[in-house]
């Protein structure tokens, strides 16, 4: 507070203890004065009593000092002034002593009071600095703007000891963004807030504008950008903020504004990043699609044009091979289109399951048969528990999920691999495990093997049916069924890979009665 004049704090009478101690001080002075005058025969002991006034003046401020000086004068008068042991004031000289006591008391207490005030201010400033520092640090650890402001409101409220709100400028008006406790702002408060925002100055209770409001608002800006206002409750009329608290309020507003602005920037950056990631996923997808579609298309176009232009000159087995390659590559393309459709629908959350009772053993056999038709040379073994219950699932999606897992093993395990498919029950879940004895999944790839575009190799030297989407689709399908899919590698002797699908079994099962309900003519 700007206060260079001697500071006389007339308002505070001081605690009772101060007066008691002032009395003791004068009593001690009196005792010393008595001893000195008796022993040494000194006549004028007023300096000793004056000293006894200085102590309370330095320590307790003006009123205890005045009290002490009066007491000292009375004691001096009573014990040392003729006539002794009366309070009668015989000569004007004694009055001068009284005045001297008073003047010394007042001046000393004022000087002492000022230096005490200074010391107090230094302590308070230090405390405020520390609070502001802690405030700024807490805000810096919060990422999003809403949390920044909520934290700021709570912290500011703790520091100021008042309810605190933040209002942010949105669409040409201020809206309540955060409050330390449930706060409703009436029209008067809102008017004060708008004024503070528009004029960039303090407004509300105890200020020059909108003094009728029960809140006090200070503008909040980051750099030159006005963000909004900070508001504190004026708890009861006539309790506005003093200058120090106003300065503190401005500091809090500034810190909060900087933190909120930083959070806004951070969120803008993360939105931009997310958009860029979506964009890059799309680009990877397009690149994969164009690359992976081109190979089967090349085969089809090449084989077809060979048959058209050179068919007569090719042998019958060669012609048959070209035709079957067209057939296989078309099936590859169909598989890829189905996978692409599935991933699109999974991404959009639009995968509608056509659930029916599915025999997993049947699904597995169909998937294996398809793989063999497509020329899988690997040894594929299927094992299943005899009492395997049916699962309630979308048969074609489950086959797609299984096909992707088997296809993954066929591509990566090598031409001489042995692939085991086993189906069994595990509590309330059906479990399908596909285990190969290939090189396994590299450790760095294993954690993201179900992520889109996760590929072991940059090139697609793998038969062309891979966008790195297959296992991602499997996971999407299995999870849509309420199941889960896991990958392990290595499974034995440092090689091999096992992918396990778990599908929930429903409590109710199709009983014989349901079979009876079926239309006999349909069978």
């Amino acid at each position: 507070m700007p206060d260079s004049a001697l500071r006389l704090d007339w308002r505070r009478p001081g605690p009772v203890r101060a007066y008691v101690e002032a009395g003791f001080s004068v009593g001690a002075g009196l005792a010393l004065a008595l001893v000195v005058s008796r022993r040494l025969g000194l006549v004028d002991v007023s300096p000793i009593l004056l000293l006894s006034v200085l102590v309370p003046a330095i320590r307790f401020g003006i009123w205890p000092a005045v009290f002490a000086s009066g007491l000292a004068f009375l004691a001096y008068n009573f014990f040392f002034i003729e006539p002794l042991y009366t309070l009668a004031v015989a000569r004007p000289r004694e009055l001068v002593t009284l005045v001297a006591f008073l003047v010394v008391a007042v001046i000393t207490s004022a000087v002492a009071g000022r230096s005490r005030q200074r010391a107090h201010e230094v302590v308070v400033r230090g405390l405020e600095m520390r609070q502001l520092y802690a405030f700024a640090r807490r805000l810096s650890s919060v990422a999003d703007r809403a949390t920044v402001l909520a934290t700021a409101a709570d912290e500011a409220s703790a520091i100021l000891g008042r309810r605190t709100v933040f209002l942010l400028a949105e669409d040409d008006d201020l809206t309540l963004a955060a409050a330390s406790s449930s706060a409703t702002l009436d029209e008067a408060a809102l008017a004060a807030a708008r004024w503070a925002f528009a004029c960039r100055e303090l407004s509300g209770a105890g200020t020059a504008t909108h003094a009728e409001a029960s809140w006090i608002f200070a503008p909040m800006s980051a750099g030159h950008r006005r963000l909004g206002v900070i508001g504190v409750a004026a708890e009861g009329k006539g309790a506005p903020l003093d200058t120090e608290q106003v300065i503190l309020l401005y500091s809090l507003a500034e810190h909060a504004a900087i933190a909120a602005d930083r959070a806004r920037l951070a969120s803008e950056i993360s939105v931009a990043k997310a958009a860029a990631e979506t964009e890059s996923v799309r680009n990877i997808l397009l690149a994969s699609v164009s690359h992976d579609f081109r190979t089967p298309l090349s085969s089809i176009l090449g084989a077809a044009s060979s048959l058209i232009d050179y068919g007569e000159r090719l042998s019958a087995p060669q012609r048959a091979d070209l035709l079957s390659s067209i057939h296989e590559e078309a099936e590859h393309l169909d598989g890829m289109v189905r996978n692409l459709l599935a991933i699109t629908r999974l991404e959009a959350g639009a995968l509608d399951l056509q659930r029916d009772w599915v025999d997993l053993a049947d699904s597995v056999h169909r998937v294996v048969a398809l793989a063999r038709r497509r020329g899988a040379s690997q040894s594929i073994r299927v094992q299943f528990a005899a009492d395997m219950p049916l699962v309630r699932a979308d048969a074609s999606l489950i086959e797609q999920a299984l096909g992707n897992v088997l296809g993954n093993s066929l591509r990566h395990a090598g031409a001489g691999a042995v692939i085991d498919l086993s189906i069994r029950r595990e509590g309330q879940r059906a479990l399908v495990a596909v285990t190969d004895d290939g090189p396994g999944i590299p450790a760095d790839l294993l954690p993201r093997v179900f992520a889109k575009f996760a590929r072991a190799k940059a090139s697609a030297a793998d038969g062309g049916e891979s966008f790195g989407l297959g296992l991602a689709i499997t996971q999407g399908i299995v999870e849509a069924h309420g199941g889960e899919v896991t990958a392990e590698s290595p499974v034995a002797d440092g090689h091999g890979c096992r992918i396990t699908l778990r599908l929930p079994l429903e409590a109710s099962h199709p009983e014989d009665s349901e079979d009876e309900q079926a239309d006999p003519a349909g069978g």
Partner: protein, 228 residues
């Protein structure tokens, strides 16, 4: 005459599956490679007459294979590449590949490129100075161009452009290759010259119909048709 040896480099077994029977029927001896390293080894041991090279190989970049081959071999190289990857094709051609075929391709198209590449190799060994392309006759010794026996008057630059294309009839020349051959290396990026002169040349040659003598390879360059 021995069968020409053809080295086919592609990592997709499906491509070999349909290429091999047709190429054999066409009278080539087919050597297969699925990686860049195998290709380099086979190029050395089998000395192929033409190499078909897919640019997307698992082990080496196709362009590196071209650079390595060109260290010691002038064997014609026809690259296979995606239609949308012009930059890759142009780089491959500028590094010494002789021609390209867009994937997916028809077998007839590939065989035409192979024939052109082989013919050009023989032409370097000394064919006559007179080239015949359909109705056109280009006499490289006497700087004469005629259509159906009628002389066509060309400026020096127009003639240079046509002669450059004619010397490589059937194979593509990139913009850069044409520009540096005719205008010099400092103009290798000025494709607008090329567009203007090709336009003028086509006008004078009357090459404006559906079947063109000078064929535009979009984004890559030009080739002179060798049909005929």
């Amino acid at each position: 005459m021995n069968k020409p040896i053809l080295l086919v480099v592609d990592d997709e077994p499906a491509i070999h599956r349909f290429l091999t029977p047709v190429l054999e029927v066409e009278g080539y001896e087919v050597v297969r490679a699925e990686t860049g390293r195998a290709a380099l080894d086979l190029a050395q041991s089998r000395k192929p007459d033409v190499i078909i090279l897919d640019l997307g190989l698992p082990d080496l970049d196709g362009k590196d294979v071209i650079v390595a081959l060109r260290q010691w071999s002038a064997t014609p190289i026809v690259v296979l590449s995606a239609r949308d990857r012009e930059a890759e094709k142009i780089l491959a051609l500028d590094m010494g590949a002789n021609d390209f075929v867009n994937k997916p391709f028809s077998v007839g198209e590939l065989l035409a490129r192979l024939r052109a590449a082989l013919r050009q190799r023989r032409r370097i060994d000394g064919e006559g100075p007179v080239l015949r392309c359909g109705a056109y006759e280009i006499d490289l010794a006497r700087h004469r161009v005629a259509r159906d026996g009628e002389d066509i008057r060309l400026t020096k630059t127009e003639y240079e452009l046509l002669a450059q294309l004619a010397r490589h009839a059937g194979t593509v020349l990139t913009h850069r290759q044409l520009l540096s051959a005719i205008w010099g290396d400092e103009h290798a990026g000025d494709t607008q010259y090329l567009r203007v002169y090709v336009g003028q040349l086509r006008q004078k040659l009357g090459d404006t119909g559906d079947v063109r003598l000078i064929i535009t390879e979009p984004g890559v360059g030009y080739r002179l048709s060798d049909a005929g």
